[in-house]
């Protein structure tokens, strides 16, 4: 691919055959500030939800401040706002220099920047309002998802690839490879995990249900870690670390091998999030072995980072930038060892649903993404503001505060995860659960949660100090930035690749000689000057690997044996389920009992794939801050649920659940139930009467529930402070109770006598 410099990006050649142009550092400065500002927002949100766990009353009864609504705000802010802007900063600064070309379109650059910030603001507004798709890290509703696709592909992707097309450096450096993998794969993941049927402007239903939805979600979820938090940051590392250390990269061969193995293997790993669940075991086993095989491809990046510093270690002592980078790469190595370890089924049986996972992701997010981002910001500040860093001492101080904060965060949370995991499975010598009451296992780890608050505070403090230092640096900028003119020759059309390498031994068969030549990787050098071909192969790698898992998950019927007694939710239960999703209950409660004896003793019969066929979205959860709810239906009385939702501490004083009294004050919009039922029917739920009488049936069920609450000694209305009296059957709490009372009960229900699905009962697999 050759380029004729476009007039927009380059001055005419000056007689010496060179293009003269300048880099767009204005866009880098924009993303730079967004990175540090959103970092502080994301850390502050994280600190707040961490405090909520130790001081549950801190919501002041407000729906907008509950853990269930704000934890997604924290994760989205950390991933898409902080890490997102950091990776854009890295891409916009380094791509221009590595391609020897200004970004193709300044307009697209700005559209990308402002579009992305608008998306973040939209997330910050909708999530506290309970507008969510209810899938982790994919919470944002469909209009925002469309905006993300447009900004990512239409603005960022087009701009990036057009810049490559017009590059003046013939070969693409490894950082660019990682950026290519990032842009392509994130687009694929985002689109296919967010295929939904909109119900209205702010509510949608996924086209996948239950097991399949869970599979797609964790294919997405894990690869969001891979291609949003790993590959672009490896690109960042490959540019900024050798620049800061002024040392050559350790091994080009290792770059090639670990790049391709990482891209190809990562994409399979998602199902390791679903060990022991209703996902077929073959799928989670594939997820596990590919995670184990991912260990060395990940460490290839760490080795290339750390060994690049050979001969430059004395600089680490002096330079805060390198301190951040070394720590970041080290934490990358630790997390990418721990990840494969956690994916091993036996380890996962203990770690899953506990804080161990939380510690793991924070060693990645704070250790790897955080440290790499801050290192980059300190590296960039003097260059893009054209003034020396205001205080190197303060930057070093930031490094140490962040490191201590990081350790104080993850160590107690590891202890908490192990403690709680072991308590959940502890039996006395008679085989009885040693800690039968779930709250006991929460109470035991609250001291660790307090230490986490301290660690998080320190990490946040470091970032605030960083912002101060960077603003001070910015204040020293010249009155107008100097814009250096770069001169570089356009790519000539008559480039000849160097002659192919010779086999290193002559007395061997022909195929061995060919293999030896292949091993010398000259073919890859040719790929590196063909961005289109390179991108096509990246796409093939991720798509083919994905299809190997996706196609069987969707097509093999025995993966989800039908259970005849499992029926769609009633209209009121459907409305209640939407409340469950909106409140983000899945952030603290799983709905997936694993076939592990300590678990069935605690929660009841393990979950079957066929029980989730009407669950859109699936709500299996990933962390048990509270107990599993998969068999909650009928386990407590309606009155109990009412009392418990109003104030959980009235049931158990050690509960860390916030009050949901507001649900007894907010009204159900009964008119919205019919379209909701229609959407479920459109996706295959076999409704009959419910389609015509959704509202009427919902009201009937609500009255029945209220009647039983009254009979058990509860009230029939909520009286507000101003004396207004809202009949309980008009309030959301009734719909939520209806849903909770349905959970997990169908397994024991009588199958309907005549059903449209009666022909499916042959392969029913319900035992016990």
């Amino acid at each position: 691919m050759t380029s004729t410099a476009s007039p927009a990006t380059a001055a005419p050649a000056d007689g010496d055959g060179l293009d003269r142009f300048s880099y767009d550092d204005g866009i880098v400065r924009l993303f730079f500030w967004a990175t540090i500002v959103w970092a502080i927002v994301a850390f502050a949100a994280g600190l707040f939800v961490a405090v909520l766990l130790v001081v549950p009353d801190l919501t002041f009864g407000l729906p907008y401040l509950t853990f269930g609504r704000l934890r997604p705000l924290h994760t989205n802010a950390a991933i898409f706002a902080f890490a997102g802007n950091a990776l854009f900063t890295a891409v916009y600064y380094s791509t221009q220099r590595l391609a020897k070309a200004r970004m193709w379109s300044d307009v697209l650059s700005r559209l990308h920047f402002w579009g992305w910030q608008l998306i973040i603001v939209a997330a910050a507004l909708t999530l506290p309002l309970g507008i969510t798709q209810g899938k982790e890290y994919a919470e944002l509703e469909w209009p925002i998802d469309i905006a993300i696709a447009v900004v990512w592909v239409g603005f960022f992707g087009v701009n990036f690839f057009m810049t490559l097309k017009h590059r003046r450096e013939r070969h693409m450096y490894v950082a660019i490879w990682f950026y290519i993998a990032t842009i392509i794969t994130v687009a694929v993941l985002h689109v296919f995990n967010n295929l939904v049927l909109p119900v209205d402007a702010l509510k949608s239903v996924p086209i996948y249900a239950g097991v399949q939805d869970a599979f797609m979600q964790w294919w997405y979820g894990h690869n969001a870690v891979a291609f949003f938090l790993t590959t672009p940051f490896l690109g960042l590392m490959y540019y900024f670390l050798p620049k800061a250390a002024e040392r050559p990269v350790f091994s080009y061969k290792l770059s090639i091998l670990h790049f391709w193995s990482l891209v190809f293997i990562y994409i399979w790993a998602g199902p390791h999030h679903l060990h022991y669940t209703a996902l077929p075991q073959w799928a989670s086993a594939l997820g596990m072995v590919f995670s184990v095989m991912l260990w060395m491809p990940s460490w290839g990046g760490m080795i290339n980072g750390l060994l690049t510093l050979r001969g430059a270690w004395h600089k680490v002592a002096d330079d805060p930038v390198l301190k951040f980078f070394v720590t970041g790469v080290t934490f990358y190595g630790m997390s990418t060892f721990e990840g494969p370890m956690l994916s091993v089924r036996a380890v996962n049986a203990l770690s899953h649903y506990t804080d161990w996972t939380i510690a793991h992701v924070h060693s990645g997010a704070l250790g790897w993404n955080g440290m790499m981002s801050f290192g980059m910001l300190y590296f960039l500040a003097p260059r893009i503001f054209q003034a020396p860093l205001w205080s190197k001492r303060l930057a070093t101080w930031h490094f140490w505060v962040a490191t201590v904060g990081l350790v104080l965060y993850i160590v107690p949370i590891y202890v908490a995860g192990l403690t709680q995991g072991l308590m959940w499975r502890a039996f006395d010598d008679m085989g009885n659960l040693a800690y039968g009451n779930f709250v006991e296992t929460v109470k035991a780890i609250i001291p660790m949660w307090w230490v986490r608050v301290l660690g998080g505070t320190l990490y946040l403090t470091g970032a605030v100090v960083g912002l101060f230092n960077l603003v001070k640096t910015w204040q020293q900028r010249p009155s107008s930035y100097e814009v250096p003119v770069v001169a570089a020759a356009p790519l000539s059309k008559d480039y000849q690749d160097p002659p192919p390498p010779k086999p290193r031994a002559s007395a061997v068969p022909e195929f061995a000689k060919r293999f030896d030549v292949w091993l010398q990787l000259a073919w890859h050098r040719i790929w590196e000057r063909k961005p289109l071909k390179f991108s096509v192969w990246v796409t093939v790698a991720v798509v083919v690997a994905s299809l190997f898992e996706i196609i069987p998950t969707f097509l093999i019927r025995s993966n989800v044996p039908t259970i005849a007694s499992v029926r769609p939710y009633t209209p009121l239960e459907l409305a209640g389920r939407d409340i469950y999703v909106a409140e983000g209950c899945y952030n603290c409660h799983s709905q997936m009992i694993r076939p592990i004896f300590s678990e069935t003793e605690r929660y009841g019969e393990y979950s079957k794939p066929g029980e989730f066929v009407y669950d859109r979205p699936f709500q299996w959860g990933s962390r048990r801050i509270g107990p599993d709810l998969a068999r909650e239906g009928g386990k407590q009385s309606n009155l109990w649920h009412y009392v418990h939702l109003l104030k959980p501490q009235d049931i158990d004083e050690d509960s860390v659940m916030p009050s949901y009294a507001f649900l007894a004050q907010e009204r159900i919009d009964y008119r919205k139930i019919a379209p909701r039922v229609e959407a479920a029917a459109a996706l295959g739920a076999p409704y009959g009467d419910e389609l015509d009488r959704a509202e009427e049936l919902a009201r009937m069920q609500a009255r029945e529930i209220v009647a039983s609450i009254v009979e058990q000694g509860g009230p029939d209305a909520t009286v507000l402070d101003d004396g207004e009296r809202i009949p309980l059957e008009e309030t959301k709490i009734v719909a939520l109770i209806a849903y909770l009372q349905r959970l997990g009960t169908d397994l024991y229900a009588q199958p309907p006598e005549v059903t449209a699905r009666a022909d499916d009962t042959a392969d029913e697999e319900v035992d016990r």
Partner: protein, 191 residues
């Protein structure tokens, strides 16, 4: 790490000043990579080549059978009658089984030690759905008052758990020290 850069061969790559060495892959890296691949193949062959008894469900059944053996082998199948319930209500070893079930499932409604919360106090002499001790087992199994008290027969993994939990509940009577939720229902004679 030693600086041995003079042995490193620099490639003629130069990207914005970044150069690359032509160093080979570290041997331990390649070795471990191949090792993880071999492990993966063996793992899949072991668990997914169709040999019976190696699935997570098989493991589960074995684990459950083992615990039930440990717990209930010497008891056999208990019958939920008055005599049996009262016998175990006075047997600390077996009360622990009932207590464990009670802690896992009942305290959220009946409170710690059965002092009552949303559900009634189980330590006093007043009962709503129980007239004699075997009724406790019936109420646990089938529920009462239209679902106010849930039915547990599908939820507990072994029928003996119902009998032993009934025994534990029976043993709570009189142990509340007069505290807890005020009495509900009518006074019934001692067990």
């Amino acid at each position: 790490m030693n600086a041995k850069s003079d042995q490193d061969l620099l490639l003629d790559h130069n990207y914005d000043g970044i150069q690359e060495y032509d160093n080979p892959l570290p041997g331990w890296w390649s070795g471990l990579f191949v090792g993880t691949i071999v492990f993966s193949v063996l793992y899949l062959l072991y668990h997914h080549s169709g040999v019976e008894g190696r699935s997570i469900y098989d493991e589960y059944e074995r684990e459950a059978a083992e615990v039930f053996e440990k717990r209930f082998a010497e008891l056999g199948e208990l019958s939920p009658d008055k005599e049996t319930i009262l016998k175990y209500a006075n047997d600390p070893k077996w009360l622990a089984v009932g207590e464990a079930v009670f802690k896992a499932n009942c305290v959220s409604c009946h409170g710690d030690g059965g002092l009552g919360n949303v559900g009634p106090n189980l330590t006093d002499d007043y009962w709503k759905n129980v007239e004699s001790v075997e009724d406790i087992a019936k109420v646990i199994a089938n529920g009462a008052a239209g679902g106010a008290m849930p039915a547990w027969k599908n939820r507990l993994s072994h029928p003996n758990q119902i009998v032993l939990t009934a025994a534990y509940v029976a043993s709570l009577r009189g142990k509340g020290g007069g505290g807890g939720k005020p009495p509900e229902g009518r006074e019934i004679p001692p067990w």
